[in-house]
């Protein structure tokens, strides 16, 4: 980071003292407390309902104790790792296809016009509706799941990349050409740094969809992962465990999203005009 950027941040911190940070944290705590409170109330209502008391383990108390066991025994890692691997592989495929295709669509008008309708059409098909076809096409369950995640993640990456490329200041390309840039320079010194934030924003959206698609996709034949664990807990009537997996899914999803937000902040070259 340059000296100037630090000065800027310093100035912003002076203008809005630590109070703002404290307020942000306090409000987040209040929000979480309200959520847990509602959850607890729901648990009490279920426990006192003779028709539903079998589900009382969904309440915060049993759930958090199941979660503590899960984390303590390290079981949570074994559960989450296959899921993270599948999401990672799917996202990687989405990037490998979506970024180059997005750059091409952003740069070449004719390609944009030809692909617009088919891509918008494909985008609107729920990735889960490919499930039966994916199962037939891929030899392994893992392959089918990775495909479903890639099919969900590719569109936000592709469209966000294309939009970023179209927003590139044409003068940057002219300046680069004037200074003797070749195609490789154009791509790695001008285009990719200029659209890094657009790609990451697309990835952040893609992650949101991929993480949602993951759980139902893991209801397929696999015997590992977070989706499988939910199904497994349901079948063994272990509701505290089921609720604990739900919490784990939420925490991991939130953390991944937060990491993308940090990356976007890091690569964002737009300085506020204050």
């Amino acid at each position: 980071m340059s000296l100037g950027a630090d000065t800027y941040r310093g100035r912003a911190a002076l203008a809005l003292p630590k109070l703002a940070w404290f307020r942000g944290v306090a409000n987040a705590v209040i929000g979480i407390a309200v959520l847990v409170g509602l959850w607890w109330l729901g648990g009490v209502a279920v426990a006192n309902n003779p028709n539903m008391y079998a589900f009382a383990d969904f309440a915060p108390g049993p759930t958090l104790s199941a979660l503590r066991d899960m984390v303590g025994s390290g079981e949570v890692v074994g559960m989450a790792w296959p899921s993270l691997y599948r999401v990672g592989a799917g996202m990687l495929i989405a990037v490998a296809f979506g970024v180059p295709m997005g750059i091409l669509i952003g740069r070449v008008a004719i390609l944009r016009e030809i692909t617009n309708v088919p891509f918008q059409f494909l985008r609107m098909i729920s990735p889960l509706s490919w499930m039966p076809i994916a199962v037939m096409v891929f030899a392994t369950w893992d392959g089918a799941i990775v495909f479903l995640i890639a099919a969900a993640a590719v569109w936000p990456v592709l469209f966000s990349t294309a939009a970023g490329v179209r927003r590139i200041d044409p003068a940057w390309l002219k300046v680069a050409r004037n200074l003797g840039a070749n195609v490789v320079h154009m791509l790695f010194t001008v285009i990719l740094p200029a659209i890094a934030v657009d790609i990451l924003t697309g990835l952040r959206l893609a992650l949101g969809v991929a993480w949602v698609v993951l759980v139902p996709a893991e209801y397929l034949g696999v015997t590992s992962g977070l989706g499988y664990s939910i199904n497994d807990a349901r079948d063994t009537l272990d509701y505290s465990r089921l609720a604990a997996v739900v919490v784990v899914i939420g925490i991991i999803g939130f953390t991944l999203d937060y990491l993308f937000m940090l990356a976007i902040k890091h690569f964002n070259w737009v300085r506020s005009a204050d």
């Binding site: 300046v175 004037n178 200074l179 840039a181 320079h185 010194t189």
Partner: protein
Amino acid sequence: MMVTRLKDETRIETTTKPVLRPVPGGAHIAVRNLSHTYRKADGRVLDALDFEIQPGAVVALLGRSGCGKSSLLHMLAGLTHPTEGEVIINGNVVRGPSPKWVMMFQAPSLFPWMSVAKNAALGLKFNRRTGEIAKRIPEILDLVDLGPFADRNAQELSGGQQQRVALARSLAPSPEMLLLDEPFSALDAFTRRSLQQDVRRIAKDLGLTLVIVTHDVSEAVIMADRVLVLDANPGRIADDTTISLENDERNASAERFQSEQARLMQIYTDVAHGDAAAPLS
């Protein structure tokens, strides 16, 4: 004024023979029978231009909007190809951009994700001369008075400072010619004046050929040794005149500056109103 014209007419006659030898320090430019048409229906933007620019000269292309002066500059830079005719730099026909002739635009268009030093080093990087960056960039940034700003982000600089970075970026690959497309028109008057004088001084010190496109008569008088006044529809050279001012006279308060400015303004107005005598080219 007729006298001036006659004199210039003679000069053009005598310099039509190309001087085809590379000149150290600055580029020699010969424009031969250059015409340009964007779309057939619109007719010619530039019509049969024929002129030369000597190495190390500072030449202004002065004309109203739409006279094709900016198109002409793009052709000198090899960014656009003329429909007819050719541009010859140091004896070679221009076929594309080259680090030997670099263009500066109205907007500095710095890359906002890079520091000042990295922006200035782009030309060297693109021409596989990264080994020179460590030595050359600090020198160049000092030359444009931006030494202490090397590590700053380009966006944190004022408009004038950004244009100085653009100047450093253009100078870093050691070009023989700089082409300026109204590069100061977005700046405030004070910043503009100091940049005009600095760019002329730097070009003279380095022996660069400098071609400036402008519609500002005072800019032409401050910076140029020679002014080509362009007529519009189609673009032709309507006048070719010399600004014979010493460097210390190139400020608005000098008496001879004012008389040169008035003379050029008269030529410009005559051309703009179509009162000018038959085009020279």
